[in-house]
Structure formats: structure tokens, C-alpha cells
Amino acid sequence: MSIFKKIMTAIRGGASEVGESIIDSNATRIFEQEIRDVENHLTKAKRDLTGVMAEQMAANREVDRLKREIIEHEGYVAQALDKGDETLALAVAEKIAALESELAAQQQAFESFQGSANRLKDLVKKSERQVAEHKRQLSMVKTTESVQKATSAITDNFSSSNSKLLSAKDSLERIKAKQQKFDDRMKAAEVLEAENGDGALEAQLKAAGIGAQNASANSVLDRLKAKQNKA
């Protein structure tokens, strides 16, 4: 059964009861150990792969060297035949035969290393996908567990503090009422500001010519003239 299905079944089956753990912590630990095992295998496979690829390169170099040497010796055979030295030509041909059988062996080794390298590469890719998948599943299990424990902590907190859980509608009404109160206060403050400050009454008095009047240039001049006259 997939982890997804397991979690779904557990939640449906009422395992979401407060304090009850969906997947026992032992199973989680085993799962974590499995992931670590796969990761270890992965590291080893990658190391093996490096080794095999080094061998593969060495075999490839050897193949090239043997091919060059064979061509070189084939040239020698032609030269010996040109000179009519059949015995020498035969000796070189024997050398070529030895080189060719060595080439065949190296070629085979190269192909075998290549096969192993490809197999290891596939294995590494497969293991990497598996680790990623296991980690995703583990994260699901752990999150489910964590949410359950968090829920139980929250529920305990509510019941211990005796705070009554309001219904959603009541909560909304109270929040809206608070917002309304805040808005009303802001509006009231604006009205008060308009009424008090340099507000209504003063303006009316001023308009009627009662109370303090605005200082005008003429009144200032008059005042200064009066002062001068006194002096």
C-alpha cells in the first residue's frame, strides 16, 4: 500500500483522535533507516562507477595503442617483402598475430567495462529516484504526524485556558463589530476635530465680527502709530 493510501486510511479510520499517532514512530524510524541504506548504496555505486569508468578509459587507450602498432607492423611486413626477405616478413607477421589476439582481448575488456558502466549508471539513476521518492513519502508521514501533534497541543491549550471556542459566524461578527467600532471612532475623531480646532463656532463668531479678528496690515500700522504718538 502506498504511503498516501496509508495516511488516508489512517485519517479516515479515526486515527486522527487527539494524541493518537497515525504511523507509529518505530515505522518512521525504520523508514528513515531504509532511506539512509539506499543513500549508502548510492554512494558506493557512484564510487564503483568511477572505478569502472577509469578501467574503461585505460582499456580504450590500450585498444588504440594496439591498433597503431598493428598498422606499423603491417608496414614492416610490406617493406620486408619488398626486400624479398620472406623469413623476416614471417617473423613480423607472427608479431602481428600476437598483437591482434591481444587487441581482441582488450576490445572485449573494453566492451565489458562499458556494459558495467552503463548498468551502474542506470542503477545510480534508479537509486537517486528512489531516495527522492522515499524522502517525499517520509515528509508526508512526518507532516501528518506533526499536524496531529500540533492539533493536540492547540486543543489542550484551549481546554486548559478555558477559552471558549466561538463559532465561525460569531467570530466574524465580533471582528466586524470591532472594525466598525474602530471606523466609528475614526469618524468621530474627524467630526470632533472639525467642531473643535479652528472649527465651527469660532468661524461663525469671526464672520459676525465678534471675538478675535485677523491681524490686518492696517490694524498693525494703527497700533504702531498710537505707540509713537504716546512716546
Binding site: E17, V18, K142, T143, V147, S152, A153, S171, R174, I175
Partner: protein, 137 residues
């Protein structure tokens, strides 16, 4: 990231938040650490934050199964599914017998991301309750 860092950050913000909200944080002790966050003026809808290995979960409880008009349960659930994508950052879920909205953030989120998430989650929750109250008793 852990809940204490988040609490410290939100508490020191006071009036200087980017979002105009004032947060109050209260850690709840239990098997896992949970942070209860209330927003000034909206104390009735607390947000709960917990941190796991790879994510930060922010959850707000909407209402209980028992608050839903029995004949409306199915159409309410369909509405929730339909609204899951349009609703910014938050998704609907159900924990035990309670419907919730939640947001999940990467463990490497910044404080600004978290503050933004919490504000959006709270606004979403308020709006959801307002708009779905026809389904509720």
C-alpha cells in the same frame, strides 16, 4: 527557521510591519512546538504556525463539522475545491472534525514571506467565513 525566531521577529515588528497588522505571538508547548499568533482586532481568528523538517505550516481553523447545515455539506465542499486555486497562497483542508485554511512555506522562507503569508491567510479566512456563511448554521 523555528517558531521562536518567527515569534521574536513578529513581536519586535510592533507598529512597523509591512502589512499594517500588529501581531501577538504565544508559543504553545506540546510534543511539537506551535506558535499561536493573533492579529490586533482579529483575536477571534488565531493563526497557528508549526515548523517541520522541510516546511513551515500556517493554519487557521474555520469551523467545525457541526456548524455546517447538514444539507449543505456537499455543496460547501465543492465550493472549497473550486476556490482552492483562485484563493491566493492558502488552501482548504480538514483536520479531525474542523475545516481549516492553511498555507505551507519552504523552510528557507524569509521573515517578510512569513509575515505576508500570515496576513494573506488571515484575510482569506475572514473572507471565506463571510462568503460561505450561507452554508453555516
Amino acid at each position: 527557521m523555528n517558531i521562536h525566531k518567527i515569534a521574536n521577529h513578529l513581536n519586535t515588528l510592533a507598529d512597523d510591519s509591512e502589512t499594517g497588522m500588529t501581531f501577538d505571538c504565544q508559543p504553545i508547548s506540546g510534543e511539537v512546538d506551535v506558535l499561536q499568533i493573533t492579529i490586533l482586532g482579529r483575536e477571534e481568528l488565531p493563526l497557528f504556525v508549526s515548523v517541520t523538517d522541510d516546511q513551515i505550516l500556517c493554519i487557521t481553523y474555520l469551523w467545525g463539522e457541526d456548524e455546517v447545515k447538514p444539507e449543505c455539506i456537499s455543496s460547501m465542499q465543492v465550493s472549497m475545491l473550486e476556490m482552492n486555486i483562485p484563493m491566493p497562497l492558502s488552501s482548504f483542508s480538514k483536520i479531525g472534525d474542523k475545516y481549516v485554511v492553511f498555507g505551507a512555506l519552504s523552510i528557507s522562507s524569509t521573515f517578510d514571506d512569513i509575515e505576508h503569508e500570515l496576513t494573506v491567510l488571515n484575510n482569506n479566512a475572514l473572507e471565506v467565513i463571510d462568503d460561505m456563511s450561507e452554508y453555516l448554521l
